[in-house]
Assembly symmetry: D2
Homo-oligomer: 305 residues x 4
């Protein structure tokens, strides 16, 4: 089916090109706002590391919230169930920045993919490793085989200048005793983490362990089969902000999006997919990206449902 | 694998029997509160209608919210996407009776499985067929092959006597123009629907169309492949009240629970499972039922993730 | 100062006439929507029953929520502190129909002047007297000396046809055990109560007991001095929907408004004021009415602060 | 009535002493938790500056939120209505730290007395004067005639160590553009402000301008008559956290409490009262303080209602 993956990608690229109206890039970070909304790339990585791509699939872009999947996996690999005492795994039912539920639930964020929950995961990883963003970068480099993959410090600086919302979340959870590091240290790590640049090809490869039931590219085990399954479950129920139900309904795969316009999706036991196009819908997901994944499951019949 | 389904069920029944602490039956309806919490039954239906069972798998119990899956499918079969103008498909992130989001979202319930959303679906089905509960009963009889499957009017009367919360929801949505029938007619239909009694065997068979990508027991099409996939997606993200994330994480299958203690789960393309045990956890899901499904996916390796 | 009350009223009427832009009448009830928004009347009643008026001060209008002050006083006169177990006395901090806090606070409304709280007060009065709306009508007739004051059944019928929101509130509180009568009986009483027609002169006289520290027109005691003080306190903190702070800030008197365009205000130990003009602001208070009361306290120096 | 003020205070002190059960001091700041909960002082200041006191009325205590009244007045004196574009004046209907409404209302706090609103007021005062806490200290010294009145830096340090909640609020409002100073500068000023120590006698004198319709002790004008009235109105509707309705109902005077156990109250045109006792009820108000003010209005008949 390697041939057919390539032909499916080519077909999707053609269909997407013919479709106008791609939403708008995130505008709160100048470096993101400047990207051409018509860029489009997509890659599929098979279990053995074979990669197929189309369009701008080798172009690095800002990974942003996609990194939350990897820090979650890395923190779970370190401390297992203890992580779930600091963050829940239920959908939030509210926009991704909401403080409301955080207050009603005493500083324990609903899941690892809303910003509050991702801050908690980074806090745990920083506490456990002493260098959360470095640990993440090294993991992504190892899995993708791309030694140049790194932070974009201009994006990080931009985010730091607009970081009041994340600072509010971190201080708020700290007031409940749910943050271990100092807030400035946490925010610095978090912003670096989100600034990592990677391509569709890099990310499809890096997410491969989720399709291989926890096994890394070199054959070693990052997560148990059961843990890998659970990360996929959290992606499906919580991975696309307030549109998780719609994404499950339409695409039918575990997925995680970022405001840089990227989305990764997992077909357990089969392959991983990464798509990138910077124009976002009003819920923060890539318009062309969701459309491309919708076509991918339609054309291939690969859906978990 | 027919043999192994039976042996898996036998193994699970033994494991469950050895586990004390089963929660408490729902106590707001006398007829439900009176049921022995130690009852336990489980059935698997294969795609061709072969059924395997263990324990009280032929014992009828009160289906309650499990019926919401079937009315959703029946309404979608009638009117397709128009239904989604009346009800959303996002997780609610709040306990199942919550009025809060309903108010913030102008009377459109978040999904078809919270009570407000189920009322809307029944309202649509009643509007479209003139007899929502009868349509449901006839469908369940046809799929299960059990002509005796019917309403438990004592349970219906009990519910009617404690129906202020549902009346509030219905009137509230009516105030936004999102209810077509009269509120008393809707409540009557809804209460009858929830009072249907069926066994694990009946329900595993009746849900078979969700494993067969929309095809009914007689080979006719209820839903398109895409629609059937979407119902499974809604079950996964919203099917177990405020524990959908936890259920996906632990069991890894689309599922729908009811306060009667039943749960149905779907392995797309493979089989359906129904388990029953009346003791509930604090979120309204059967304690032994969730534990049994957790073991089912562990023992068989059948998970969508 | 009798002369000066009349001259103050005349002055205010002139100033209001010169001010364009009076908001819009409530439009959910046809009988209210049809009223000319330029109507304006105002009356002051001194402690001894002397009344001064200007404009349409003798014109009956739909009292609506103004009646909530009187049913509160009548229920307190009957059962004293027990009433406060069924309804709170804190500002709601949310629009007047909100179900949100009701849910978080287990069916006990925040105060007697939001709709939920007014339903509870009417329920108590109905339980205690067997005829809440008749008791209210008789009280208003006695205090105003107007034997023709009565219900407007066309308005009541209109409200009944748009009563889903109140039905939702009543059933919701009944689900928490906080309603004693049957919901249909309660709604019928409540709608009749709100439909009472009275003029500015009638209402200024009828509210006189609040300026006389609980003493009725005939010298008998309705409420103790302490109770009367407390009703005024609830009016100040909760009497004008979500604008109580703004009203206190601007007018500086206990007041209660209705969507018919009327407002009553109390100068304890001195007089009562009633103003009517049907055009409402976006928070449901009479635009010209609030402006007139603002001028009244400015011109007379009569403010409680 | 000077004699009778003293005799009323003596009577209240006797009654309070006979009443056991005084609540618990605030425990989140060690310096506050260490205070003996049985301390009790009360002072009345007449319009001409005559002071009457009983018990520990000359003992300095931590003023905490009481300072919010003074910074509000000082900011209003500087910039008038522009302040109300940054903070509302409606009761919050939620506990005093709530972030919920802040989020729904785009970073504009409901009123100047919840913590978020007080931060905004201090931010404005800091922006306008360059030294908010110094301006406040100087004002309190001038009005009380006590040149030793100053900050308690140990309390300020304690608060700084537990300041995550306030930091969260400040960053959150900054994310909406509603904070002008830098967050650390604001927090430093706010914590210093709250740490001011003053006695009942000091504070009764310092609040005198609110009873004198805006006129300072030296006869100069701080606020117009209308502005002073408005500050009193905000105190009445919002001055005692989530118990404003109950306080108005029970005491019937504009009042402002602090977690140090102090409360100031105003009888417009007549006098000011300050009471102190460190034991708090579950809503953060001094138990003996509220009881003493209740008795004060009962014994003197001085209530605004």
């Amino acid at each position: 089916m390697s041939d057919s993956f390539q032909s499916v990608l080519d077909r999707i690229a053609g269909e997407i090109e013919a479709t106008p109206g791609r939403g708008r890039p995130a505008d709160y970070i100048p470096a993101l706002a400047a990207v051409d909304p018509n860029r489009f790339g997509m890659a599929v990585a098979e279990l053995d590391g074979t990669v197929h791509g189309v369009g701008d699939w080798q172009q690095p872009f800002s990974t942003q919230s996609i990194t939350k999947v990897f820090t979650l996996a890395l923190a779970l690999a370190q401390e297992d169930d203890e992580l779930w005492e600091h963050v829940g795994r239920e959908p939030s039912g509210n926009p991704f920045n909401s403080l409301v539920q955080l207050e009603y639930e005493n500083g324990i964020p609903r899941n690892p993919f809303i910003n509050a929950g991702a801050l908690v995961v980074t806090d745990r990883l920083q506490f456990l490793t002493g260098d959360a963003s470095g640990t993440l970068r090294d993991f992504l480099r190892a899995e993708s085989g791309n030694p140049d993959l790194t932070f974009d410090l201009a994006v990080a600086d931009s985010e730091a200048a607009h970081g009041d919302r994340n600072a509010a979340l971190a201080h708020f959870m700290a007031s409940y005793g749910n943050i271990t590091c100092s807030v400035p240290e946490l925010l610095d790590q978090y912003i670096r983490q989100c600034s990592i640049e990677a391509s569709c090809g890099d990310l499809a490869l890096a997410a491969g362990f989720l399709a291989r039931h926890g096994i890394r590219a070199d054959g070693s085990t990052l997560l148990s089969r059961s843990r890998a399954k659970q990360v996929n479950a959290v992606m499906l129920t919580c991975g696309t902000y307030d549109a998780a139900g719609d994404f499950a309904h339409r695409v039918g795969l575990p997925g995680k999006s970022g405001v840089g316009g990227g989305i990764i999706a997992v077909v357990p036991g089969r392959c991983t997919v990464c798509v990138w196009s910077p124009g976002l819908d009003e819920r923060g997901n890539s318009v062309a990206g969701v459309a491309a994944l919708d076509r991918f499951t339609t054309h291939t019949g690969l859906s978990i449902f």
